[in-house]
Symmetry: C2
Subunit: 237 residues, 2 copies
């Protein structure tokens, strides 16, 4: 028997928003885990039920709340013995406080995970450029949490959001990763030109647009940071 402190803790992933993002987060958890054999990987339970009202529409006041469906998933993960859980969708974190209050296990917040990685960089960023859906930007939790930790931040202009970021995200969703690269590069360059010294990818589609793209400043993938936070929690690091 291994001593109790080396047994990895079971973690939950609340997905469905959309389902591909939950699969991507699982793959990032697998890649972030130091493992020599199957059994070294984390015990993970995934609720990947996509019958959830649209998050962006709800944040913008144009549709029903996804919170009840999210609470159902979080409670199922808790019932399955998970000791913490994460949500595989940036925009859904608009409801993080209510969601966390609905269960007794902790929610590992994607913005806290990303900010934690930033703060541990040898040279922490002076000004963070956020690329996200307009739902995530309207939800404002990234900006609030960055400011609380002392980071300055900026987002694209409305014109850049419509012409570049929304286009890059839509092209990835449509399966055109190559076509998403140029609008992503232009959006990242616009933020860097205005002083951003780190680009935060706060949307699960954007890492795909960023693959192989040229960017004048470092890029941080919030999903990868969340995967690392799940590994740290499970392995008690």
């Amino acid at each position: 028997m291994k001593p109790a402190e080396t047994t990895p803790r079971r973690i939950g992933i609340l997905g469905g928003m959309g389902p591909a993002a939950a699969i991507d987060l699982q793959a990032k958890v697998l890649a972030a885990t130091p493992a020599a054999a199957d059994r070294d990987h984390l015990p993970v339970v995934v609720w990947n039920v996509p019958q959830v009202p649209d998050r962006v529409a709800a944040v913008l006041g144009a549709g029903p709340s996804p919170l009840p469906a999210m609470v159902e998933g979080a409670r199922a993960l808790e019932a399955a013995g998970c000791e913490a859980f994460a949500v595989a969708c940036n925009t859904a974190h608009h409801w993080a406080d209510e969601l966390a209050a609905s269960v007794r296990i902790p929610l590992l917040h994607i913005a806290d995970a990303a900010i934690g990685v930033m703060a541990r960089r040898p040279v922490p960023p002076m000004r963070v450029g956020i690329l996200a859906t307009r739902g995530t930007l309207a939800a404002a939790f990234y900006g609030e949490r960055l400011a609380r930790r002392g980071f300055r931040w900026m987002a694209p202009t409305e014109e850049e959001q419509a012409r570049l970021v929304d286009t890059a995200i839509a092209r990835v969703k449509a399966g055109d990763a190559a076509g998403a690269r140029a609008p992503f590069e232009a959006a990242a360059k616009a933020l860097a030109d205005r002083g951003a010294d780190l680009i935060l990818l706060a949307c699960t589609e954007l890492p795909i647009a960023a693959e192989g793209a040229a960017c004048p400043v470092p890029v941080l993938d919030a999903s990868r940071a969340l995967a690392e936070a799940l590994v740290d929690f499970s392995l008690r690091r």
Copy 2:
């Protein structure tokens, strides 16, 4: 409200054996689902807990049974409201009958899914060549189920298994997909030379070795067949 018959049924995936295979099966389910939006995808719950005794060792009588850990996962999927479940590991199907008896929801068996796809081919195969781990071959359920449905089958010789199939699987597990291609091609050619007119990939690593490989006869991926069976069940097709 959609009428009840169009609501997809929730399905469970029992994974962990290893965890990458469960992620791969989820990706194949996603790809096999006709969907125009997130919400058209299947509601899926995944138990991806890899703290399970080694399946190949247990089949060969050299280690403890993985059945109790598998039953725990199946019961958790049932408790989470899944209406059927599948196991993302070929060798683990050695315990399929006991596992199915431990819950009230049906187990969609990977061999039945693969044989169903074969039987629906315009020209069904006359003789199926099975490529699998030696654990799956020793478990014998593919051969028994193929024979029951009237299919003749063959497996590699012991020498081919050790030199080619075991090597291809080990190289994929070690991340060397390119190096797995040549032994896979040689194993498939050996079976085709002895009369196999279809190669069944009955191991979750082998589709990766088969990518871009030359094969003289058609290849059938049992994992893809299982993904299609999950989609058919969920959408009541």
